[in-house]
């Protein structure tokens, strides 16, 4: 049961900050939020209306029931000399308060049913996006265009998690920013397929009005039609382990033309990445790229300083693997370690990324092996391991 280092002091430092924020933040834009967002899709709008309808019905019933009750509390008390009546049932009242709720419930069930039927209709989409949940990132595949990428918590947010200080010093989109956002066209029916690689996750962007689980071995479907260009943020909603709180979702909706341009850009970048694997990389190039890959793929567990988590997750700094035999190191990263949370990265990272990562891990954090790993080396290791 070890606590984070310097914990109490930091927490106590934050106390006055948090309190002052609580009193001052009337001016802050998104603070003191009370309700669901209306959202930007046809579904999110009808869900919002349904939510408000049920809420107001509940409030109304509450006002009546609690009103009667408080009247009784005020007037039917012994201290006012009120004598107790002796009635203990009334067939009329009992039938009435069984039948009336039934009618109210039917009134709620009808709009709920029509909404649900509409939500479950994923037929005739204009395009399909496949979303795969990983511990702890999302993978997006644009099935028609062949664009694929991973989306991780932005490094600035990750760095801020353990920082001293209160909310003011945190980035505005702290924990809601990613390195590679999903881009979708506006006014198109997008079918979203959901699955997961390891444990159950759930993909949720409140402004799209939908949430669905991403389950290993299953493919779930939802659909959306974003009517307003903009950036919409959400999070993984199903507990998926240590970094469940740190796998945000960012959807950028762009008009059709801009969206097409973005897709072309992505395709070109993917083609470039393939040729990049064929050339020799310099040390500064590898170290720079390696640092970025490490921050998104490894730092969640092994920490940004390579120190790992005591008693839990091995560090990279000074580790036998990262300073020992290169082939062994590559094998661990490519294939993972069975039965631990160290997952196989062979399919997740390409040769350039792996080469950069290996170079970085073997030279950063004081691991001065001097090794320089080229994409070709990684390709050979893959062949040897039958990957």
């Amino acid at each position: 049961m070890n606590m984070c280092p310097g914990a109490l002091r930091k927490w106590a430092l934050g106390l006055p900050l948090a309190l002052s924020l609580a009193s001052l933040s009337g001016s802050a834009s998104a603070a003191w939020e009370l309700n669901l967002p209306v959202g930007v899709t046809p579904l999110s709008t009808i869900v919002y209306d349904l939510h408000m309808l049920i809420l107001w019905i509940c409030v109304l019933i509450g006002v009546v029931v609690f009103g009667v009750m408080f009247y009784s509390i005020v007037y039917h008390r012994k201290s006012r000399g009120h004598e107790a009546a002796h009635f203990h049932h009334s067939a009329f009242a009992e039938i009435a308060w069984t039948v009336i709720p039934c009618i109210i419930l039917i009134g709620m069930a009808i709009p709920s049913t029509t909404t649900l039927i509409e939500m479950e209709d994923t037929s005739d989409p204009d395009m399909t996006l496949k979303v795969t949940g990983y511990q702890w990132k999302w993978r997006y595949d644009y099935l028609e265009d062949g664009v694929t990428f991973y989306s991780n918590l932005a490094p600035e947010s990750r760095r801020a998690i353990y920082e001293v200080g209160g909310p003011q010093e945190r980035a505005e989109k702290y924990l809601l920013e990613v390195d590679n956002p999903v881009v979708l066209p506006t006014d198109k029916k997008v079918r979203i397929l959901l699955t997961a690689d390891d444990v159950i996750h759930a993909w949720w962007v409140p402004e799209l009005g939908q949430k669905k689980d991403a389950i290993p071995g299953f493919v779930n479907e939802i659909w959306t039609r974003i009517e307003k260009p903009g950036t919409y943020r959400g999070q993984c909603a199903e507990l998926c382990g240590k970094d469940h709180g740190f796998m945000p979702i960012v959807v950028i909706a762009k008009p059709e033309e801009e969206y097409r341009a973005w897709v072309e850009e992505q395709k070109q970048a993917q083609a470039e990445a393939q040729t990049a694997a064929l050339r020799e990389w310099t040390r500064p190039e590898l170290m720079a790229k390696g640092e970025a890959v490490y921050a998104s793929a490894c730092a969640g567990c092994h920490q940004l300083d390579g120190g790992g988590v005591p008693h839990h997750i091995a560090g990279i700094a000074g580790s036998d693997v990262a300073t020992g035999d290169l082939d062994q190191h590559l094998k661990v990263v490519l294939e993972g370690r069975a039965g631990t949370t160290m997952r196989a990265f062979g399919t997740e990272l390409d040769d350039v990324e792996l080469a950069a990562l290996m170079t970085y891990q073997r030279n950063a954090f004081g691991n001065a092996t001097g090794d320089l790993v080229q994409p070709a080396t990684v390709a050979v290791a893959r062949l040897n391991l039958g990957d």
Binding site: R170, I200, K211, K212, H244
Partner: protein
């Protein structure tokens, strides 16, 4: 209860050769329902504080953004263990404690029907609790996959997995034995004239709860056993790669889990239905409809389970079915609330601490019922699911519902159990501190959930800061207020004004015909119960 017989002679006769044996072994070997009831209640109180400590840790970490006190893994251990300890260690044993103390003296029985099994079903609990809590000190720590233990995540746990499963098995065995005992006692040991429809409502709710326990706990045992074999014996019940189905666990778990919700609330309905008439000085309104409403809630509880898993991707027909059945629960629940309000209507009310808790229960449980109705609406649930809105909902039904009924029940019967009146002024302080702080704690969580904060996260983005600060402050005050509760209880055990047999002017029922405290053995000669005694 004027027609009740000569109990005073009975206990005078009993005392000198049937008193409790002295010393520690009294508690280890006891087969006396009053002793065992006390043990259950003290165990529950201890667990309440351990679970509460974890809750304080959670609220402290969420007091501000960033990670200060708990690393994410430890945070997940805190939330999972908080849930497990509160459900299986605090709320359920507390109600069994009430059943042990109250059922025999409310139906005029000398003891529970199976006293030795009663001893056993209690003494399993501390071992189960120790097994569970010991996982905190193991390499890899405690279970961290939520109290719902969903695979595949829960199977990623380290050494804690077998301990968790074995602890759940033990807790389940204890509950089943307790339930069997309660059913046999109620069905076989009622005093002459105590027909089923003359039983106090608390006894009725427990009878129905006990059937729910017997039906639901084996299902949980089956589910966790499948986890065990998946982890250690190569089966693939829940492993998609081996042809299994991770969602099947959720179906099995919630087939237990939803009845479990009512296991934790029906006895609370019973307690409140005892307290309200006593302080309204007026009989319970709609006694029979209360019984039928309880039974229909129990029946419905077996066909609504998938409302906990609307987002797993069920077929439309399934989602509609579970939405309709869940909405239907509002009808019998509504009947109960209306009956309580009608009981208060034109009564002659006083507002001692038990009454304050009972009224707070009716109001706040109803708020939890409203959010429950909102959650039943499948399309809206897609937005609410797994957010703080759900956390707010089930804490309204479990804390201001179940726990408030337990606390109210303790104040109500403490004079009977100890023979002393508690300090009314302190009791009111405890009530008002708890009532205000618990709302400061949980009401803002509705807002957090609607604004988009998922549950079970150790850290959040800055837009959620304000309500989390408020909620944490409420949490700290609520937690500290419970120390006052313990102080009041122990002061009452040690002394205080002498409680009369009928501790409350308006209290009706066999237990109030006994001296306070009741002798070690009561109703050895069964009392006779008439219609007039039962419903007056």
């Amino acid at each position: 209860m004027s027609a009740v017989t000569t109990h005073h002679d009975d206990h005078a006769h009993e005392d000198h050769h049937h008193g409790p044996p002295p010393g520690l072994m009294r508690w280890v070997l006891t087969t006396n329902h009053k002793d065992i009831g006390t043990l259950y209640l003290l165990f529950a109180l201890t667990m309440l504080f351990i679970g509460g400590f974890l809750a304080m840790g959670i609220r402290a970490e969420l007091f501000q953004p960033g990670l200060q006190l708990l690393n994410p893994d430890l945070f997940n251990q805190f939330t999972a263990m908080h849930g497990l300890i509160m459900v299986f260690g605090a709320i359920m044993p507390a109600f069994v404690g009430f059943a042990n103390w109250q059922v025999p003296i409310m139906i005029g029985a000398p003891d529970m029907a199976l006293p030795r099994m009663n001893n056993w079903s209690f003494w399993i609990l501390p071992f189960a609790g120790i097994l569970l809590i010991s996982t905190f000190f193991m390499p890899g720590g405690a279970p961290a996959a939520g109290w719902t233990m969903y695979p595949p995540l829960v199977l990623q746990g380290g050494m804690n997995v077998p301990f968790l499963i074995f602890a759940v098995h033990l807790l389940g065995m204890s509950s089943i034995m307790g339930a069997i005992n309660i059913i046999v006692t109620i069905l076989n040991m009622r005093a002459p004239g105590m027909t089923l429809l003359r039983m106090p409502l608390f006894v009725w709710t427990w009878l129905i709860t006990a059937f729910l326990l017997i039906a639901a706990m084996p299902v949980l045992a089956g589910a966790v056993t499948m986890l065990l074999t998946d982890r250690f014996f190569g089966t693939s019940f829940f492993n998609a790669a081996g042809g299994g189905d991770p969602v099947m666990f959720q179906h099995i778990f919630w087939f237990f889990g939803h009845p479990e919700v009512y296991i934790m609330i029906l006895p609370a309905f019973g307690i409140v239905s005892q307290i309200l008439p006593a302080f309204c000085r007026k009989p319970l309104f709609g006694y029979e409809s209360m019984v039928y409403a309880t039974a229909s809630i129990a029946f419905l509880s077996f066909i609504v389970w998938a409302h906990h898993m609307f987002t797993v991707g069920m077929p439309l027909a399934g989602e509609l079915f579970f939405m309709y059945t869940t909405m239907l629960i509002a009808v019998p629940t509504g009947v109960k609330v209306f009956n309580w309000v009608a009981t208060m209507w034109r009564g002659s009310m006083t507002f001692e601490t038990p009454m304050l808790y009972a009224i707070a229960f009716v109001v706040l449980f109803t708020i939890g019922g409203f959010s429950g109705l909102m959650l039943a609406i499948t399309p809206a649930d897609f937005q609410y699911h797994d957010t703080y809105f759900v956390v707010a909902h089930f804490h309204y039904v479990l804390v201001t519902g179940a726990l408030f009924a337990i606390v109210g029940g303790v104040y109500f019967w403490l004079p009977k159990w100890t023979g002393h009146m508690y300090d009314e002024r302190l009791g009111k302080w405890h009530f008002w501190l708890s009532f205000i702080s618990v709302n400061v704690l949980f009401f803002p969580q509705h807002f957090l959930g609607l604004a988009g904060m998922p549950r079970r996260i150790p850290d959040y983005s800055v837009q959620f800061v304000d309500w989390n600060v408020v909620s944490s402050i409420g949490g700290f005050v609520f937690g500290l207020s419970q120390l006052l509760f313990v102080y009041i209880i122990f002061r009452t055990i040690r002394g205080g004004a002498k409680a009369p047999d009928r501790a409350w002017e308006g209290a009706r029922g066999l237990e109030w015909t006994l001296p306070s405290p009741p002798p070690y053995h009561t109703f050895v000669e069964p009392p006779k119960v008439t219609e007039a005694d039962a419903h007056s």
